[in-house]
Amino acid sequence: MATLELAISDDVAAAPARRRRSLGPLFWAAIGWIALVLAVAILAPVLPLPSPIDMDMLERRAPFSVEHWLGTHGPGRDELARAIFGARISLIVGLCAPVIGLTIGGALGLLAGYFRGRFEALVVGSMDVLLAFPPLILALAVTAYLGQSILYLTLIIGVLGIPAFMRVARASTLTLARREFVIAAEALGATHLRILLRELLPNVMLPLIAFFLLGVAVTIVAEGVLSFLGLGVPPPIPSWGSMIGEGRESLDVAPRLAFMPAIAMFLTVLSFNLIGDSLRALTDPRQGAL
């Protein structure tokens, strides 16, 4: 017994040190990059930037200069301003679309995993249908009928993310729903609502949040792909994806036009993934307990 107790207290004492180590410089670099991108995206209208839409016909595809820090692109718009305003689109879509998936998919998965039976069959079945639907066709159809806008773009990507969130939520609910703490709560007369919200949701939230940050990263890329294909926000509003798409045309003359937004996107996606991983490791109170 004595040795067992010792082992437990050692483990507890060692845990904080291990956690602190896991937040290395990479994590802080990622936080720093995201903070920078968020700050400039939010402050974009008040920053002393040239307009991202006005064209400077005398400075077409200009190299780096004091006037245009990152140069200009083909029609002569300022690249830095476009990258910063493009970040707004990427972040709005990247953060809002997974929220749709998180709330709707998470709720459906939680309910399906808890109540099982016909409801579960219905939810899983309809999610399979949604998964089987080719995403690009859906995006094409929606933009063809409803037109291009940030709202529709967000909705399309958000709805397409629902099945994945549903599956994550359902899988973890299934493993938790017959755990003894749930049965104990039921034995104490807890309502279904209470069990769902207080016993299951806090447990299911952990994998969901990690998956959400992954979803943000994936969505930023997806928005880039759609914009690259011309299905994203309508020009001349810049987004990283459409900037890469436009830069493609002058890849031989000025490769920086495609590479700079690509690097910005790469760093942002990497940062979200790094933060997601570190946060999951940090906030999981089940560490070593289960």
Binding site: E180, F181, I183, A184, A187, G189, R198, R286, G288
Partner: protein, 331 residues
């Protein structure tokens, strides 16, 4: 049995559909528990103890079928609607499980779990619920309860967690506490403490308790009555003292013999029960214990013995060849 009957289980059977066929986990069990009394249910793994407790709480897996009646305080739990059942559970029933690792919510602090339970049941203010939680934790023997309330389950040792689980179970003053192998996952030294704690709180709150275990030693000093289960059936039932004085069922005898004795000479072989419990999806025609019993004869293999009264109506056993009283007393 003295005092009013709190819980009476009448002919309860639980059937679980499995891919290999119907599994009868509990087979026509009759039991009664008086208010403030303790019933021990003893049996090896798979004998249906846990399923019986889930049947009493109406917490069986969704596909399980329950037949028979579970009368609690005059109400048939198997037939009352969800709202009534929930209120009844909230007021009167509680359960403590075997594994304190999984019986507490891993992502909520001890305090959150206790306080929310209290607030949900007793409509207390946060301050009052907090104070009450501190008192409860102190009552179950947890030092520095204020600090513990802020901790997560994984920061506590197994014994501590089981104390917390007991505190949560006791928080709404249940009339019946079902303790399903509450000490099996714990160290031997902690076992005795937890059992003493349960006994003390039970006396103090005048609550009835069903103590489920596979260890006859656990029920010996702490129960008023014992039911021995085998293959889903109650095979012997008696007031605790009478059972240990003169057990009649060969299975009970074998269970008792299988407990290691402190005063035995070193290297004494432990008389284990040979063979395994019968496959519950293939019921035997005769006595379920027949293949492992040393008194078995042809009748045992063909006919199922029913519970019959021994010399007192309190003591019942299901066997054609009970251990003779003289011999039982000598043991």
């Amino acid at each position: 049995m003295s005092g009013p009957v709190l819980l009476s289980v009448d002919g309860v059977a639980v059937d679980l559909p499995t891919p290999r066929g119907n599994l009868r986990a509990v087979d026509h069990v009759d039991l009664t528990v008086g208010a403030g009394r303790t019933l021990g249910i003893v049996g090896e793994s798979g004998s249906g103890k846990t399923m019986l407790s889930r049947a009493i709480l109406q917490l069986l897996p969704k596909k399980a079928r329950l037949s028979g009646r579970v009368l609690f305080d005059g109400q048939d739990l198997a037939r009352c609607d969800a709202t009534v059942l929930r209120k009844l559970r909230a007021r009167s029933l509680a359960v403590v499980f075997q594994d304190p690792m999984t019986s507490l919510n891993p992502v909520l602090t001890i305090g959150t779990q206790l306080i929310e339970t209290l607030q949900a049941h007793l409509a207390l203010e946060f301050q009052a619920a907090w104070q009450r939680s501190v008192d409860l934790l102190a009552a179950v023997g947890i030092p520095a309860p204020e600090q513990r309330l802020l901790q997560y389950p994984h920061q506590l040792s197994g014994g501590m967690r089981q104390r917390v689980a007991i505190a949560i179970a006791l928080s709404c003053e249940p009339k019946l506490l079902i303790a399903d192998e509450p000490t099996t996952a714990l160290d031997v030294t902690i076992q005795a403490q937890i059992l003493d704690l349960l006994a003390r709180e039970q006396r103090r709150r005048h609550m009835a308790m069903i103590l489920i275990t596979h260890d006859l030693g656990v029920v010996a000093g702490r129960t008023d009555e014992v039911a021995v289960m085998y293959a889903g059936r109650v095979v012997e039932r008696a007031p605790t003292a009478a059972l240990f004085r003169k057990m009649r069922m060969p299975y009970t005898e074998a269970l008792l013999a299988a407990i290691p004795k402190l005063d035995a000479a070193p290297h004494t072989p432990l008389p284990a029960i040979s063979g395994r419990p019968p496959d519950p999806t293939r019921p035997l025609g005769g006595c379920s214990f027949a293949p492992r019993c040393r008194y078995v004869d042809d009748r045992c293999r063909q006919e199922k013995p029913v519970l019959v009264a021994a010399e007192s109506p309190d003591h019942q056993y299901a066997c054609f060849h009970p251990i003779p009283i003289a011999l039982a007393e000598a043991m």
